[in-house]
């Protein structure tokens, strides 16, 4: 098995609260892993640990981007992005007074290099880079279907489009691993359907996806494997079918009757 990410015994403590305790799982390259569990189970905390927002109190996070099995626990977010981990946020975080294009151009930051002097002197290489940034950003926007809105204000987009813009911005960083935090939240069925197609298309770009989602139908349909968290502890790990039949999961999360759904 070729694991792109191996979370090994990760714990995260906030004061007296164990948000995560000794959680381990692996993510296989080129697949979709679903991270599920009730509210407050520690799913977003896990994302924040992997994305570098939080430093885990304990444990290792092994990421195999260019190097194999590098322990990246406690790296800064910008370093994780440079290594190839991108994420979206549960409560959308766009640069809302900028344009749609600028949001995605900012995503290109870690793959470009022009500095103060390039900007002031407008060197040939700076201008060429700016052109490449626009081309790459437009490619990402066209990929998620927002190309025509490139010059609109990010805040003017519909809710579903804002979620897609976050995905476009994340893709602009050229990730190997994409963490999607509740991408379908607040979407209508039609938008959700389009999201499923989008996630499959992302997979074809050779990007591995980890997904936090409460829409069980969506999760069961697209994830190859599920990891279930409850109160910061991993209570199940397996295929959707196995997880759905797991009594602990039914008890903690799915509710009785889910097994027959």
């Amino acid at each position: 098995m070729d694991a792109i990410l191996a979370v090994d015994g990760v714990s995260k403590r906030f004061g007296g609260l164990m948000a995560l305790s000794d959680v381990s799982f692996t993510v296989e390259r080129g697949t979709i892993l679903g991270l599920i569990g009730p509210n407050g189970a520690g799913k977003t905390t896990m994302f924040n640990c992997v994305a570098g927002i939080y430093k885990p109190t304990d444990g290792r996070i092994l990421f195999s981007g260019k190097e194999r099995g590098q322990d990246v626990a406690g790296s800064k977010p910008e370093r994780m992005t440079a290594l190839g981990v991108a994420r979206t946020f549960q409560n959308i975080r766009l640069f809302s007074s900028l344009t749609v294009l600028d949001n995605v151009r900012i995503g290109r930051h870690c793959r470009t290099s022009s500095n103060f002097f390039g900007a002031v002197l407008r060197t040939r290489s700076q201008r060429a880079e700016e052109r490449r940034i626009i081309d790459a950003a437009m490619e990402c926007l066209d990929f998620v279907g927002l190309g025509d809105l490139a010059l609109s204000a990010a805040s003017s987009l519909s809710y579903g489009d804002q979620r897609r813009l976050e995905i476009a911005r994340a893709l602009a960083t050229e990730p190997r691993l994409l963490l999607l935090d509740e991408p379908a939240a607040g979407m209508n069925p039609k938008e959700t359907e389009a999201l499923v197609d989008l996630i499959h298309a992302i997979l074809e770009r050779d990007v591995t996806v980890v997904l936090i989602e409460h829409d069980m139908k969506l999760v069961m349909r697209i994830c190859a494997r599920l990891v279930v968290l409850d109160h910061g502890v991993k209570i199940a790990d397996g295929s959707p079918r196995e997880v759905r039949a797991n009594p602990d999961v039914i008890e903690a999360y799915l509710g009785k009757g889910a097994a027959h759904a």
Binding site: P77, I106, S114
Partner: protein, 348 residues
């Protein structure tokens, strides 16, 4: 409509260029216009921090003071040329910016504002008390005016004359100030529409999302601080060689507040707004300086008027006069090209 605006702009620029040569020119008006230019540069420099990066800086005038004293002291002690002093003063301002910024830019929000406020007070205290260097409250008088010395060119041509022009009166400073404003304006516009400017705006909009997009928040804040303080010091160097006398009480907290008001009034993050804010508040200050004593009020009451303006702008136009951020981005050639491409795609 667009054509009329452009024509109007050219006419205004021509009028501004021609004014000091007109027979009806007035020394006082010229002086105020030069002062406006100094504050335009200050406002554009400060705008980087609260406008582009969302960092509240209450101590900007400290760096203005550092620039002015760097220029003043280098002039009286070493009789250095203005053209050499400008880069030195800018570098010195930026150096102090980095020295102050490196330990404090990890602070956020109000804490950072308090540190900058403390720093500017520290600058004033230093200038007042370190008499061996700054002559303290007596100030530094007798700074030589700016001069252009091209004797080297004359000797190169084999002419044994002194080709030296010393600035006298307001008119040469008026043109020099104009050049300085133009230079800073172009630099600001270019920064705004660049990878660096976008990183700054991302930090202002959402620091967490910016970090997750690969931006090193701390590094980019330090760069912002260095550029901003460098521009503050540039204005200071010009100011010292223009007024020819500097003293610590010219760099009190009120000046920081005034510049901040200009930026907020014009619109945080809008470069044109900073210029308009400087014009409005300096012009208003001059009007009030004359009007208030006539009403039997001390001239300091003008700060009440500034406060009133700020209250009114917060109530009726909280974004300032110009609310658009990253304006130059939308006017760049590449974006115009993209807009045309998108329009073509839509019709196809």
């Amino acid at each position: 409509m667009r054509g009329t605006v452009t024509t109007l702009k050219y006419l205004l620029a021509a009028a501004a260029l021609a004014y000091p040569l007109m027979p009806f020119r007035d020394v006082y008006v010229l002086h105020v216009l030069v002062l406006i230019m100094v504050y335009m540069v200050l406002a554009m420099g400060l705008n980087i921090l609260p406008g582009f990066c969302g960092l509240l800086d209450l101590g900007f005038v400290g760096f203005y003071g550092i620039g002015a004293y760097t220029a003043g002291l280098l002039t009286i002690h070493y009789n250095m040329s203005f053209w050499l002093i400008v880069p030195l003063a800018v570098l010195n301002g930026a150096l102090f910016g980095v020295l102050l910024g490196s330990p404090t830019l990890r602070l956020v929000g109000d804490y950072f504002a308090i540190v900058t406020f403390g720093f500017s007070e520290l600058v004033v205290l230093f200038l007042t008390n370190e008499i061996w260097l700054t002559r303290g409250p007596l100030g530094v008088p007798g700074i030589a005016p700016v001069s252009i010395d091209v004797t080297w060119l004359a000797s190169l041509l084999g002419i044994s004359e002194r080709w030296r022009y010393a600035f006298r009166g307001e008119a040469p400073y008026y043109y020099l100030g104009m050049a300085m404003v133009l230079l800073v304006y172009v630099v600001m516009r270019r920064l705004e529409d660049s990878r660096l400017g976008r990183a700054w705006l991302a930090i202002r909009e959402d620091p967490m999302a910016a970090a997750s997009s690969g931006i090193d928040l701390f590094a980019y804040k330090v760069i912002a601080f260095a550029v901003s303080t460098g521009i503050g010091a540039l204005a200071g160097a010009f100011f010292a060689r223009w007024t020819l006398f500097i003293s610590p009480d010219m760099f009190k907290f009120w000046e920081s507040f005034l510049v901040l008001c200009m930026v907020v009034l014009g619109g945080l993050g809008n470069i044109n707004g900073a210029l308009v804010g400087a014009i409005i508040l300096i012009a208003l200050g001059e009007v009030l300086r004359v009007a208030l004593p006539k009403l039997g009020l001390p001239a300091e009451t003008r700060f009440l008027a500034y406060g009133l303006i700020m209250v009114l702008i917060m109530r009726f136009r909280p974004g300032g006069i110009f609310t658009q951020v990253a304006e130059s981005t939308m006017q760049s050639g590449l974006i115009k090209e993209l807009r045309a491409k998108l329009a073509a795609r839509r019709t196809a």
